[in-house]
């Protein structure tokens, strides 16, 4: 793609924002992949005196136990983003499938039953629900993934169901029936793609929420716990030292913000594009 074409693309509403967001996100993901691989200090190594301010040796300083904050911050990427990704991907898959089934089902009783379950789950704010369920499963990142898979799917299902109902009433679906295509094919090739386009859009926003949720639960000690190198846990641990050694909380916090903001940019850019069509 030539420079000129790129410039024109950037000029369109929304695209420059998407570009910024994507670049930011790719940067942090790459950092999360390569830095742990190559860096000399590990996340759990005691590398020096505790609470040293950032220097050339320890780029982000050391925390209260003498571990390198730089290394820990970037080791946390795969945990925070990875767990959040699973916490979105699994509910997305489950929810979209259930939503589509509900949307095209003729069994009124079944649909009514499951819809009320969905509405019931959706009535609770996700954080409260997750925190409450942790009480049963015990703290841990694995628990978080399980809980999200059990509850967050309901939000996707609701979107998918409404959309599936709308889509199945469209003329092109009727045309597909008139042309004799088997029902299986119609669902797979015509209904599902048009429904999942909507749930994928929601998934992107949800990703941001879940990243913050995972970090938030860890902060509360309900998900990742010390000594795990995870942003929420790191921020929580570093709370006591904010006055004298702010870098212990600052860098994991900045990384968290960076991840969330980069994704928010992408969502905003997409919205802008959408609005201008």
């Amino acid at each position: 793609m030539s420079i000129k074409k790129f410039r024109r693309w950037m000029d369109e509403p929304g695209n420059s924002v998407i570009f910024t967001g994507s670049t930011m996100f790719i940067l942090i993901v790459l950092a999360g992949i390569f830095i742990p691989f190559f860096y000399r200090f590990g996340p759990y190594d005691f590398v020096g005196d505790p609470l040293q301010s950032p220097s050339l040796e320890f780029l982000f300083g050391t925390d209260q136990l003498g571990r390198d904050v730089f290394s820990r911050t970037f080791h946390a990427v795969y945990l925070d983003l990875g767990v959040a990704f699973l916490g979105v991907a699994i509910p997305f898959a489950i929810g979209t499938v259930i939503g589509i089934i509900l949307g095209i089902s003729k069994n009124k009783r079944l649909v009514a039953l499951i819809s009320s379950i969905i509405d019931g789950i959706n009535a609770f704010p996700l954080l409260i629900l997750a925190a409450a369920l942790i009480a049963f499963l015990g703290p841990g990142l694995g628990s978080v993934i399980i809980i999200l898979s059990l509850t967050n799917w309901a939000r996707y299902a609701r979107i998918a169901r409404t959309r599936a109902v709308v889509v199945s009433q469209q003329n092109y679906i009727e045309a597909a029936y008139t042309l004799g295509y088997p029902k299986r094919r119609i669902i797979r090739k015509h209904i599902a793609p048009n429904v999942s386009s909507e749930t994928i859009a929601y998934a992107l926003s949800d990703f941001i929420l879940v990243i913050l949720l995972v970090a938030g639960l860890s902060f509360l000690g309900l998900a990742a716990t010390p000594p795990t190198a995870e942003w929420g846990a790191m921020i929580s641990e570093g709370r006591a030292y904010i006055q004298g050694s702010p870098w212990v909380t600052l860098f994991p916090g900045a990384a968290l913000c960076w991840a969330a903001i980069s994704l928010a940019f992408i969502v905003e850019g997409l919205n802008r594009r959408e609005g201008k069509i």
Binding site: N171, Y172, E174, A175, T178, Y181
Partner: protein, 258 residues
């Protein structure tokens, strides 16, 4: 001669015990081989519902639809097996008639693959040819529906319907949502298809279109047929008051007062 497609005592009632809407009230319709018929009426007349019953998309509350003598309904399926391809439909709204995520050529190729038993690039080639006959260039055929105009989308829908090699095409208000010049192009196309042997059931509120394309016309109002007859007759000598009212509303008949 057995009519090709026939509906007898068709009634369609919507609603529940609290409120019923009788969209179609006990009508008889028949299409002879080689004939083109029109069902004309204003909004709320029930003509679209009737068209959908004939296409097998809508289950009639009572009555029977037969194709060449055979009932189109077999249990819960309409037009079972090989019968399905013989009657195809083109819908009113060009914006909802095509899968927004499928390029025009793929939508048509899918139908070709299914009905003509060819696959892959062979199907694509047939699709391109068919679209070309409808006036859609290869370049446009590769576009997504949102990049095409209303008239072009309608023609893609027609191409898709024709891939099944139908005997009967039911067109529900095909010209309503498009420009005048696109309308002319579509109607010209229909005229050619009729000359090639296709039977068309044209549902419309536009009398000009009905007059141009059809041999026989049924005038529908509030679920009933008010008048039926040869198109030329109906236009030159409408018997019923409603028919007269419709015809006199065509622009050109409004008295010019200055």
């Amino acid at each position: 001669m057995t009519p090709r497609l026939e509906g007898k005592n068709i009634s369609v009632t919507f609603g529940d015990i609290f409120r019923k809407v009788e969209a179609v009230k006990n009508v008889d319709v028949s299409l002879e081989p080689g004939q083109t018929i029109g069902i004309v009426g204003e909004s709320g007349s029930g003509k679209s519902t009737l068209a959908r019953v004939l296409a097998g998309i809508q289950v009639p509350t009572s009555g029977q639809v037969t194709y060449e003598g055979a009932n189109i309904w077999q249990g819960k399926t309409s037009y079972p097996g090989q019968m399905r391809r013989k009657v195809q439909m083109v819908f009113q709204d060009p914006y909802g008639s095509l899968n927004p995520r499928m390029r025009a050529v793929h939508a048509v190729a899918e139908a070709v693959t299914f009905h003509q038993k060819v696959v892959g690039n062979d199907a694509k080639k047939i699709a391109f040819d068919l679209l070309d006959r409808m006036g859609i260039t290869q370049k446009d055929a590769l576009k997504l529906p949102r990049a095409l105009s209303g008239g072009q989308r309608q023609r893609v829908s027609v191409a898709r319907a024709l891939s099944a090699n139908p005997e009967v095409l039911i067109a529900d208000e095909p010209t309503s949502a498009i420009d005048q010049s696109a309308q002319s192009q579509l109607l010209s196309l229909f005229s050619e298809l009729i000359a090639d042997g296709l039977s068309i059931i044209l549902v419309s509120h536009d009398l000009g279109v009905i007059r141009y394309l059809t041999d026989r016309v049924y005038v529908m109002e509030s679920g009933n047929f008010v008048e039926a007859g040869d198109t030329a007759q109906i236009f030159s000598n409408p018997q019923m008051e409603y028919t007269q009212k419709l015809i006199s509303s065509i622009p050109g008949h409004i008295t010019k007062s200055r």
